[in-house]
Symmetry: C2
Subunit: 566 residues, 2 copies
Amino acid sequence: MDSDKVLTLAKRRGFLWPSSEIYGGIAGFYDYGPLGSTMKRNIEDIWRRYYVLGEGFAEISSTMISPEEVFVASGHVKEFLDFLVECTKCGEVFRADHMVRDFEPNADALSAGELAAIIDRENVVCLRCKGTLSSPKPFNLMFELGIGAGLKGGRKGYLRPETAQGIFTNFGLLYRHFREKMPFGVVQIGRGFRNEISPRQGVIRLRELNMAEAELFIKSEDDSWPKYQELSGEKLTLVPNEGEMVSISLGEAVEKGIIKKQVLGYFVALTQKFLVDVGVDPEKLRFRQHLKDEMAHYAADCWDAEAKTSFGWVELVGVADRTCYDLQGHIDHSKQDLRAFERYEEATEVEKKKVIVKPEVLGPKFKKDAGKIKMALEGMNPEDLAGKDSVTVNVDGKNFEVEKDCFVLDTVKEKISGERYVPNVIEPSYGIDRIFYTVLEHAYHEEDDYVTLRLDSRIAPISVGVFPLMAKSELIDKAKPIDDKLRSKGIMTYYDESGSIGRRYARMDEVGTPFCITVDYDTLKDDGVTIRDRDTKEQARVKITEILEVLGRLLEGKVALVDLAI
Amino acid sequence: MDSDKVLTLAKRRGFLWPSSEIYGGIAGFYDYGPLGSTMKRNIEDIWRRYYVLGEGFAEISSTMISPEEVFVASGHVKEFLDFLVECTKCGEVFRADHMVRDFEPNADALSAGELAAIIDRENVVCLRCKGTLSSPKPFNLMFELGIGAGLKGGRKGYLRPETAQGIFTNFGLLYRHFREKMPFGVVQIGRGFRNEISPRQGVIRLRELNMAEAELFIKSEDDSWPKYQELSGEKLTLVPNEGEMVSISLGEAVEKGIIKKQVLGYFVALTQKFLVDVGVDPEKLRFRQHLKDEMAHYAADCWDAEAKTSFGWVELVGVADRTCYDLQGHIDHSKQDLRAFERYEEATEVEKKKVIVKPEVLGPKFKKDAGKIKMALEGMNPEDLAGKDSVTVNVDGKNFEVEKDCFVLDTVKEKISGERYVPNVIEPSYGIDRIFYTVLEHAYHEEDDYVTLRLDSRIAPISVGVFPLMAKSELIDKAKPIDDKLRSKGIMTYYDESGSIGRRYARMDEVGTPFCITVDYDTLKDDGVTIRDRDTKEQARVKITEILEVLGRLLEGKVALVDLAI
């Protein structure tokens, strides 16, 4: 398979267009044309069926711009960096790790010093003019901007590099939305922005991405998952970060400790189901565990869904264990309580040591200071007072020496109804653009120069072509109302009356339209039309009055056209 | 009606949340919570039914970041400005026109000098500390950012202030997508960004907006519209920029010249149909024509759909005649041919004057320069040569005096099969956030402290509440499968088993859920459930096996629950 062929078709037929092409284009930016935009939305809608309707996750839509504080707390200001090198002669810019990957397979884990050493040692030079390269400098991959105006130049903000932070900052509101019941999940579908240093891989490395992310909040120690059994039989191809590649069921993988947590494994298997459902070839799909030094700054474990394409193995989805990293970061920076509360089945009593002050001794000794000293003593850790003859108490900047006859240490019983904890996060994060491209490439079939996109009927941007056999008014008068009827029912059609019927079929096959309806001269007699299947080229005769019902079943894949043939 | 009540409900129940609230929030940014995000998407889906399925417009999805060139060509770099004034004492920033609107109703059309004069004359001071204000300075409302890295600091880009430019820059590709047939329309739904100086109107003036825009490309001189008759009877409330407010049909408004073009009028009427369809109160809706000096830099005419809300009359939609302003701008700056071609019914012959050089005279006179002089002469406008005794021809920086015996002016016939033209654009541009808020406010009903959101069933974020009468396993075992079944069919449900049934109904009424299904003890005998209507509180008994079919008709509004009651 050749990516040029796919991208040429994608451009010619309105799937993907290089953005701002009339101004020479700009690396890392693609527009979705009429067919692409519809197909992308179809993929997102199926994703929504999995996560929102299927798993019961809530969907939110947060802003793409957030103030600096959010990304300081999330660690992105400090950690979301790549190293760049510049040619000292021509000024061309490169990612430092890409320049040394022939010498170091895991180059993106290297420090600036390590990168510099390899560049120096291997005499790596500018790819364009062979000039000397500068030393590697860190470059933050977020787009920075100023919000508002004024003497102070506005407030600093960033375009989000992932949709996830909009979920984390709203954790408190979401927790209340779920009426404080754990676990719960929240999704977001939308753009993310990454100011890649010099993206050279077309549609695979974008600066403006379409993402679909799910954040599942769970109790920290709890690795189980109620729906786990439903998918434990799912067969997976796994590439663990230690040991060999294996083909194995989810259940076995968890049992053998290859995948550490049931819950992480469940979403790995769910990801596979989704990807295959929208059209990724299961024979070209694997899950690779990140190497320890490859992980994002927030992740403790991560499995990538990778698809084999003409660009090599491409990461489509990351299923990460983000631990409580993000929520803890936002707690620390915002000083808000972003914890969940777990009520015990029944309240328990715990024994607790306590400082009990004797006012009848303390009062006479310290007079007007006694009240404050009492409060200070009661606030101290009883363990620190145990066994001491006296203790120094600081009140309003003044030290008082308090002897042990002023207090006793006692054990009291306290009732505890539950505990607060910072939830852990499991995150399946989907790169919609890469999934989109992979689905196109895996659907691309060519035989004797005849191209068919074998897209699933729920993904195809056009569901039905509607044609009068010839551009004659008696046929058009029958075909047009069929087209109108289908569109009014929300079915995307393409009406076409120009050129030979063969050429019209070919135009539809090339963009993956699963079915075509043709009105011919028999229609005028029997009120029947021909429905044609894209892949088998089979045809069936259906009454006009039954088209909607038949198409409904065909488009859902519930029946094959061949079973309708008379 | 009180916006505080609506916004309090919207926040409490997860419709709208101030963005980044844990960091103190940031003016002009709102997040859509779980219910809001779903309701917003429902509104967008209905919009899509109008424009994509109904009008046959294509949908695209272009990038939000574009390089500077795009917005130089569109005029936004030069024209998309507001004037700001700063307090010289406390540094607070204000929009200059907002500071003088008590003295000048049409303040946003004033120049910096005029604004300064009024501030001076009326002694306008800082709203916060009464300090002296600076002189007004222009402030561009686009968010600027740097794309990529490097010695040169990357390439300058902007976040789009409207989605429209992504359509205009792709005009050539779109024109080919429509197989060069005019007219055609293209839509885009997505974010736009406007760096408002100091937005103080909450959800009404946002810095990050959700927009739905349609760009209709038509022949410049053609004001007619094929579907015009379908809506010419639609009654409109119009506030023209000259004369009185009138309530009048579209047909009459166009006849009387109040709305200048059929095609503009059609989209005004379509806008009204859409707004009323999603829930804007038709009694609180009017169309106001922009004043001549109020128009955006690209518009020749514009009618705003305005809704009456607790914020006053709020612009929801602008239906603008953008002329060929944008395409011409992109032609001039990109040097690309963004014109349409109109083929004549039959090719016509036109007579054309032409310069015919006589080589037998020219040759001997100018020798080696004769060839170049001939080309220059032939490129000249024949009109400029008529009646002259000689003409000066400049070749390679050298002037030659050519006498009239060297050429003749002749009339030749030329075949012309059609003509190229720069299309005009009619743009209905919808502010989704404001429509969303208005729909919420107009749906808000309160009686004796009981709140019901009377949302249309196609807009409501939750379609059906599913309840077991009590949290008993025999009822739960009947209710859960109903919930699962509905969700698997794409119907958004809310399953709830906690608290009294009355409280559960109230929770659903408050968020506009049109129907609730209750499983009770009779269900165990008769396999029937109760369906309850939000607004009438009527109940009907329906068999479990018939729920899907009945709900389908109820949710589409095809049947009222009262007609189902036994």
